[in-house]
Symmetry: C2
Subunit: 606 residues, 2 copies
């Protein structure tokens, strides 16, 4: 069973050595308090909470799952106490305004917290995690009164929140939402309808649950332009802020899922439930999409989390478990066979997990910096700044969410594979990682939706390729000074440089083709996304390798082993993982015919 330890050395390498978060925090209006000491205290405190409280609940939580009885959901044993400790520690309001009781630290620290919590116990992390979307919505679009009512208990964590979007007939296609909201004389609304897949829709961790619900007014236009947003509390709130009458929103069922079994995924029935409009009528979907980027990056973290956890699970096993002799000869002479880690094919699997986890971490931390600036734009009322950073983040989002969750699933499967048949057995905890990881490529927009967003929306429609050209210029700028280096970094720089040029060229080629054939976008998008992921991960591996090389050149024994291994992992990435981009290039540039020509009725003859 994986024994989670927060990878603080690697996190600090990125924070302090690669990305200069200290300088970054100083540039933020709310960064003053994020001193190195404060950041360290948060990292250490969160790590202890995750390792000692959350991680031990992960496997038992999966085995027990949630239960629904008479409309009440019971979470697995220990979750309630752990959540109380989370609230008591003030963890929920880490990045939320002081006005509502938060600590108002940069959003990126919240993402580091989510990384550690999510790796230790993804199911648990979803309960406070879903509150974020709710809080963001109330904070950005709520009236003064709504904010005063709902923000303080959400920020403290005493209440949690949900996002109620999906209905049985639509998930991605939210223009088809049917839930009705009928205006009442007192200005409130009565909501009627069914929402499905509502994470944390009902549970026993908090005294109230605040649902953010997409619904239609009676006179609403059809489609996406007729959707409004409502606050629907589980318990209505009294004037003094205390919890009042039970509202007519109830969990009708719990979904039986492949994984994240300790996270309560509910069918929520709204039977004339009292709700309050938030944001403007018929502009609910726009409001909802405001925080899509951050929500999706929160899901990208799941890919990182499961790559990291599967690595932490399979590495000790590979060191302990013995089987056969290494091909290059006896390694453990005092045993009849060698540890798995001596076998090259096992090393390949381990290093894949490591390269993905550490590459993904760097990608996510870069996005976290952008999110900090975006939030600063909101906080200081600087709309242009907000939009500029939201756009930039919007480019990273589908790549991070789509690519990292796909790779996280692959790594979770490799973690099982290192265990051989034992990986398939529940008690080792490795198969749980694969089941938990499986949801990440489905929710918050499937990989296909991320891919369409990247190629169709961000690249073609919104920027005519500019987002790719900008990023590939960054790749080139990083690689250029190292092109002639005679060492491994030089080889990596040349690979990244070539990849950047190739990516520009591919983008232009696809843009030209898409002008003539619209199906090109949907036919090529998945490969374009995966290509982008390998290219971007390569860039962030090069960034890490350059720093590691500099640190080694500076001499000193401190962390020499760490930097050496960092360089070796970077080399592994470029030699053994990056070439996959070549296959994606080839397939995305093949004609749409092989995908589109088959008659729908000829897909099967059974």
């Amino acid at each position: 069973m994986p024994q989670y330890k927060a990878p603080l050395r690697d996190m600090r390498f990125l924070l302090n050595e690669v990305f200069d978060f200290e300088g970054h925090f100083k540039s933020l209006p709310n960064g003053e308090e994020a001193s190195p000491d404060m950041v360290d205290a948060i990292l250490e405190g969160c790590a202890t909470f995750c390792e000692e409280v959350l991680a031990p609940l992960n496997l038992p939580g999966d085995l027990e799952g949630c239960t629904l009885k008479d409309g009440e959901v019971t979470t697995p044993k220990g979750f309630k106490e752990a959540y109380a400790e989370y609230v008591a520690g003030g963890w929920q309001g880490l990045s939320h305004p002081k006005e509502y009781g938060g600590q108002e630290l940069p959003m990126s620290l919240n993402l580091l917290k989510a990384e550690m919590m999510g790796t230790a116990n993804w199911s648990f992390t979803m309960y406070p995690g879903l509150s974020l979307g709710c809080m963001n919505t109330v904070f950005q679009f709520g009236s003064t009164e709504q904010k005063a009512t709902y923000m303080p208990p959400l920020v403290s964590g005493e209440w949690t929140g949900t996002m109620c979007l999906t209905e049985p007939q639509c998930g991605t296609d939210l223009g088809q939402v049917k839930t009705k909201a009928e205006p009442q004389p007192d200005g409130s609304f009565k909501l009627t309808g069914t929402k499905i897949f509502i994470s944390s829709g009902e549970h026993d961790l908090a005294e109230n649950i605040i649902h953010i619900v997409l619904a239609r007014l009676p006179d609403a236009p059809k489609g996406t332009r007729g959707i409004s947003l409502f606050i629907v509390p589980k318990f209505l709130v009294n004037k003094d802020g205390s919890v009042g009458e039970r509202n007519a929103v109830r969990a009708g069922a719990l979904e039986h899922k492949m994984g994240i079994r300790a996270s309560a995924t509910c069918v929520m029935n709204f039977d004339g439930a009292t709700g309050y409009m938030i944001a403007e009528p018929n502009k609910g979907l726009e409001a909802m999409f405001t925080f899509m980027n951050t929500a999706r990056i929160g899901t990208a973290v799941q890919g990182l989390a499961h790559a990291e956890l599967s690595y932490q699970g399979s590495l000790p096993y590979a060191k302990e478990r013995r089987s056969m002799r290494a091909l290059s000869g006896k390694k453990d002479a005092d045993h009849p066979n060698d540890a798995l880690i001596w076998h090259a094919d096992v090393r390949r699997m381990l290093l894949t997990q490591r390269a993905v986890a550490e590459g993904a971490r760097a990608m996510i931390y870069e996005a976290a910096k952008l999110a900090d600036h975006m939030v600063a734009g909101v906080a200081t009322g600087d709309q242009a700044k907000y939009e500029a950073y939201d756009d930039k983040l919007g480019f990273y989002t589908p790549i991070l969410k789509g690519f990292i969750t796909e790779m996280g699933l692959e790594c979770a499967n490799l973690g099982m594979q290192v265990f051989g048949g034992h990986g398939y057995i529940k008690e080792h905890g490795m198969e749980q990682i694969a089941r938990d990881a499986r949801i990440a490529t489905l929710y918050e927009g499937t990989t296909g939706i991320q891919a369409l967003d990247l190629l169709g929306r961000k690249t073609l429609l919104q920027s005519r390729g500019k987002c790719i050209f900008n990023f590939t210029n960054e790749m080139i700028a990083l690689a250029k000074p190292h092109l002639l280096d005679g060492d491994a970094v030089g080889a990596m720089a040349r690979a990244s440089f070539k990849r950047a040029l190739e990516w520009k060229w591919i983008t232009v080629k696809i843009m030209l083709r898409a002008n003539k054939d619209r199906d090109v976008v949907s036919a090529a998008c998945y490969d374009f996304l995966m290509y982008a992921g390998f290219a971007m991960m390569g860039h962030f591996w090069l960034k890490q390798a350059i720093v590691a090389k500099q640190k080694l050149a500076q001499g000193g024994k401190e962390s020499k082993e760490f930097y050496t291994a960092k360089l070796q992992t970077a080399e592994f990435f470029f030699e053994r993982l990056a070439p996959r981009a070549n296959a994606h290039k080839k397939t995305m540039l093949s004609s749409t015919r092989s995908i589109m020509q088959m008659d729908n009725e000829h897909f099967s003859f059974v």
Copy 2:
């Protein structure tokens, strides 16, 4: 939920049009009775049994699982009745000698049966499936008396069998087996030890269970050369063949697994259990490996089964479920959105499943023909023939087992992906396929073990590349007449031709490198295996495409649509899947340094 329908049209295409099984059967000593009518009757009868009896038990069987109480295992509701029907239908002895009550039909028909049964319900199929290894062992190595005692009830299916190899400390590395066998004055042995992961080790379907057990004699040499093979029946058998006294072998626990939950995977405790030696002392492992090829091809079928079933599940969903508009414009004008199947990225996922299932089926049927000849060699006492075909099958085996099960898992995941979030919910049955498929890359030798077998054993040690050169010559011979064709088949032929030449060249290159650096084999083997899989599947897609083209050229309306779709699927394979071999080529040819250089202690710094 997938509603399994046996893909008889595709099976018949391969049997009759691509591979000429009618002629093949005529060339076999036991092929006489396998007339086209007989084969048809078997296909139809088996299809009905699978569709009507086995398929409906698949999802409920997963939900219920098996239970162990007081040493007795209860299988899910309906399994007992279904198994009784299977026995009554005479299905178990399809390919076993008439002498013992079987029908003595070619082994390939048994594989077709296994394909249909396994697709309908893999867990169920494992109960009779495990008997095969047991029967093969008794038949090949048993004394006349042993055969007379055990074969008839095994062939009828009234009894089932197991293979007890794995122990807690070893799976792959069977030289480490510790179970002891002490000789008794009466010529029998007392076996003591623990075996794990024993499929069908205990259950309520049959009146007796015959375990084939690897164990060590007291004076046995260490390692693989000191292992003997024993028959250990659950109930000792009386002289008249009736079931007698309970033997001291019991299920100590049931494993809690990710999937195949209706298959009882047992920890078996042998507490001085009575056993009878089979085959020569200390040559148990060799005997065991005799049927390794057929057992592994039986597992390759699982990859085919899960690709097929996930396709059968996701295709109707893609036709019914609607979301958004297709990028190339409105398709279903009377709806606000289009069916999923209109979206190119969804078609990509569907066609991947189809191309893998139909490509894998062709690969497996080719291997089935080889198995028929191998069995004919055994039956006619023609050792040279047996060895020649076993060698040939031995080349196919790791590719089929390794590559097809990896692709089956990928397809099972794509099937879930087509369903979006609904794919994650148990009631739809798609996540079960992914969980069930996950074991296939682990048992019967992990993918890594198959890869080592292919590159290290079959290619380098045993044949100095000859197995690859022979197969690539077949690829060239098939492609050559079509190199100048101006249509899609021409493009496929050129691609397959180039691949064959490239594969030869890669093999030579790796052979030369491996002479200097033994780690090359383990570092390259996974990519070599996957490369081999794509190359071989391409060959069998070309074979199918050539036939489809000929049939279309012959005119006639019959099956025009079928052949057209076949050609289109072949084209999809070459354009969208085959290029992945390029990435495998690149990584396998990169140096071993990036895999081997990291110090074992520097894999982690947490």
